[in-house]
């Protein structure tokens, strides 16, 4: 075999190898042809972190998001960036003796906050427990009775506790989640990288991840939206309860509170001495879920047993 023949053979072999390799690579990445290109727009890519956007940049971002919502759901949303009010710190109090476990709050929250119906995402989880001790380890999340409340059962709805010392914000590597001046812990859905470290850090299991693209029927979209609250999310980012900030920062009550048939939910500005939550925190017996983890929640459970004292209970 001559030297030139050798060279030709090795050249051919190399060529065939390279072509085969390229073909195999192309086949491997072929699923990408189904990738939705709208998720990769330049405007989205260049959008800054919420806290770094100027007024004009926020306007542009809001327009871009509203266009995206209109394209996806054929509704022009009333989308805005609602800022916290001065001198306001929110707190939520839930009368644990009064809750009947009807889950109306869960469903009102889903509708209000444009949560995915398929796969299901819900911010509020109602735990059913045997009457007596409050022990989440003994709770049933999937109770399904004809009528509630079931005898010998008590109910405890759990949602984001908006901690004053939030472990979720501490662990986020990109500051996509932070505590606002009015105490609400928010998420910039356009900044979250989806590492789910916050979900691992949360002691209240309050965070939900969009494992798939959220599915919401077009006619069920709530067009009353804010940047940091209920605008529709995309897959791959975290979300959670934000005390309905698009309502509460404009003087309305959270959706879960409005729908509660027994009035077990109280919400307001804890700095205002005339507010109901202020009164409850001062005069009722309070229970803080998992007080031992030290995250200082703004979400309290209370017992309206008429004793009218202010001993603070502890426990898990």
């Amino acid at each position: 075999m001559s030297a030139s023949e050798m060279n030709r053979r090795s050249f051919l072999r190399g060529g065939v190898g390279a072509a085969g390799g390229l073909a195999a690579f192309a086949a491997a990445v072929s699923p990408l042809k189904d990738y939705d290109p709208s998720e990769l727009s330049i405007g989205k890519f260049l959008q800054k972190h919420y806290k770094e956007m100027t007024k004009e940049e926020m306007e542009a971002a809001l327009k871009r998001i509203a266009d995206d919502v209109e394209r996806r759901f054929e509704v022009r949303p009333h989308l805005r960036d609602v800022k916290p009010m001065d001198g306001v710190e929110f707190a939520y109090a839930l009368d644990i003796g009064r809750c009947i476990g009807c889950r109306k709050c869960v469903h009102a929250c889903v509708v209000e906050n444009n949560q995915s119906r398929s796969p299901e995402i819900q911010y509020i989880r109602v735990l059913e427990m045997p009457k007596g001790a409050i022990d989440v380890e003994k709770s049933n999340h999937y109770y399904d009775h004809e009528k509630v409340p079931a005898p010998d059962k008590s109910y405890m709805p759990v949602q984001c506790h908006q901690c004053a010392n939030p472990p979720c914000c501490k662990v986020c590597p990109v500051e996509a989640t932070w505590k606002e001046p009015d105490g609400i812990v928010v998420i910039d859905y356009d900044w979250c990288i989806g590492c789910r470290y916050c979900e691992a850090a949360c002691p209240y299991w309050a965070r939900r991840f969009n494992f798939a693209e959220p599915g919401i029927p077009k006619d069920e979209i709530n067009p009353d939206m804010a940047y940091l609250s209920n605008r529709p999310r995309h897959k791959g980012v975290m979300e959670k309860c934000h005390f309905c900030l698009h309502r509460t920062r404009e003087g309305r009550m959270p959706a879960c509170l409005e729908v509660c048939p027994v009035g077990a939910r109280k919400f307001g500005n804890v700095l205002d001495p005339d507010s109901e939550v202020h009164h409850i925190l001062k005069t009722k017996r309070i229970f803080i879920l998992k007080k031992d983890v030290g995250t200082l929640p703004r979400f309290f459970y209370y017992f309206d047993d008429g004793y009218g004292d202010s001993r603070k209970g502890t426990g898990r």
Partner: protein, 427 residues
């Protein structure tokens, strides 16, 4: 300067060329790895399109196989230091020519680590946000980004410099690598400590919220890493002309034994504290070791790991483990055992039950498993190429003035030179 750059580019080109040269075994191995890596890439593309819903992860168990493998591989990367310390601090001669294989393993392992965290991200396209708004020093994840990439650069520099010096037939200048070697020793400890802090810093997860996590991580890493290197070195000496003495392997075996004994001791400490106290924090450990309310997916895994690790340690401690087949058996058992212990045994049970007491088990999907296998294949592919390049360069068969012959028949992975073989046990 220009000349030097051109020479360096030629070096890279030759490295590229030589990674395609080998005998049929080399080609089969590389083809297999490439095939599996492409399968993994394909599975990852499916995940990019459909989201992380294609994995077995849920809101309850929000980290799974990806983070488990990541954790294990950080340990493998850190373990290179167990070759570096004997060589550079205790001036060990046996390991001197082998230390580079440990450092190359660290580079390959960090490649895999970075791949595993990337596939775990819901929005990898927003990777740049890490550079724009880095929550350092508060978030432990940012520390991990720094220490892992720093460790990668350190090891790439050390290996690259020494290999290139050998290629140019120059004596390496100590100032250019010794300081980095010593920094890398501390850095290796830091990568695994920071990764442990990632978990142990979470007050809401009592299973992780324990000070013993970091020491245990280090002990198990210093067992599994050198065990892997023991196996690799034997493959190298079996199929190449590179000299690896039995004494070097025995020394590594000693390191594995001590590290494994410490690891088992720490495990006992942890199990005792959990189960003797019987506080409400024990539920996750209860689920892991014995099952809870009829849910017991992890029980067979953890007991397999306990048995593998215990038997491996016993073999290593007994006198007959002086023979290599027993050492190899122990190494394989121990690598598998520690992999299970770190993945199925440490990451997943912390999520079960959920903080609200819900028992949701984790079952990895095929897609997710393929992605993991793909990353492992990619890592092994990288490591094989590194070794493929390093051996002829360090043994002086590929230098700037001596172009290694590229014909596979004569130069692929030639049979060992019997004259250079010092171990009669392995003809």
């Amino acid at each position: 300067m220009k000349q030097e750059a051109r020479e360096y580019l030629r070096f890279l080109w030759r490295c590229f060329r030589i990674s395609f040269v080998g005998d049929w075994r080399y080609y089969s191995w590389m083809l297999l790895l490439t095939g599996v890596a492409l399968l993994g890439l394909n599975a990852y593309c499916h995940q990019l399109v459909d989201g992380l819903a294609v994995t077995g992860m849920t809101d309850q168990v929000s980290w799974g196989l990806y983070i488990a493998n990541f954790t294990f591989l950080v340990g493998m990367a850190a373990a290179a230091v167990m070759l570096v310390i004997p060589v550079y601090i205790y001036k060990n001669e046996e390991l001197h020519d082998l230390v580079v294989f440990g450092e190359l393993l660290a580079v390959a392992a960090i490649f895999m680590c970075l791949a595993f965290v990337t596939v775990d991200l819901g929005r990898p396209d927003r990777f740049v946000h890490l550079l724009l708004r880095f929550n350092w020093p508060i978030s432990m994840l940012t520390w991990d980004v720094i220490v892992l990439n720093g460790y990668l650069l350190l090891n790439m520099h050390i290996c690259g410099y020494l290999i290139y010096c050998a290629y140019r037939k120059r004596k390496p200048s100590r100032i250019f690598y010794i300081p980095f070697v010593f920094i890398a020793i501390f850095w290796a400890v830091s990568i695994h400590t920071v990764t442990a802090f990632l978990y142990s810093g979470l007050g809401g997860r009592p299973f992780w919220n324990s000070a013993v996590i970091a020491p245990r991580f280090l002990a198990s890493a210093f067992a599994a890493g050198p065990a892997f290197i023991i196996l690799t070195l034997q493959i190298i000496r079996r199929y190449t002309f590179y000299k690896v003495t039995d004494e070097a392997l025995k020394l590594l075996k000693g390191i594995v034994t001590v590290a494994m004994a410490i690891n088992m001791f720490l495990l006992v400490c942890e199990v005792f504290t959990e189960f003797y106290t019987q506080s409400s924090h024990v539920v996750s450990a209860q689920y892991l070791f014995f099952g809870l309310h009829g849910h017991s997916a992890l029980v067979p895994w953890i007991w397999t790991a306990v048995v593998l690790n215990t038997v491996a340690l016993v073999i290593l401690l007994l006198p007959f483990s002086r023979s290599l087949p027993f050492i190899n058996l122990a190494c394989i058992m121990l690598i598998v055992g520690i992999w299970i212990e770190k993945g199925m045994g440490l990451i997943i049970p912390a999520f079960i039950p959920s903080p609200l007491g819900e028992l949701v088990e984790y079952h990895p999907t095929i897609n997710e498993t393929l992605v993991c296998l793909g990353i492992w294949a990619f890592g092994l592919l990288c490591y094989t190429i590194f070794v493929r390049i390093t051996i002829p360069v360090l043994s002086g068969r590929l230098t700037y003035d001596h172009r290694y012959r590229m014909e596979p028949d004569s130069a692929g992975l030639p049979p060992r030179d019997p004259a250079s073989d010092s171990s009669p046990a392995h003809p």
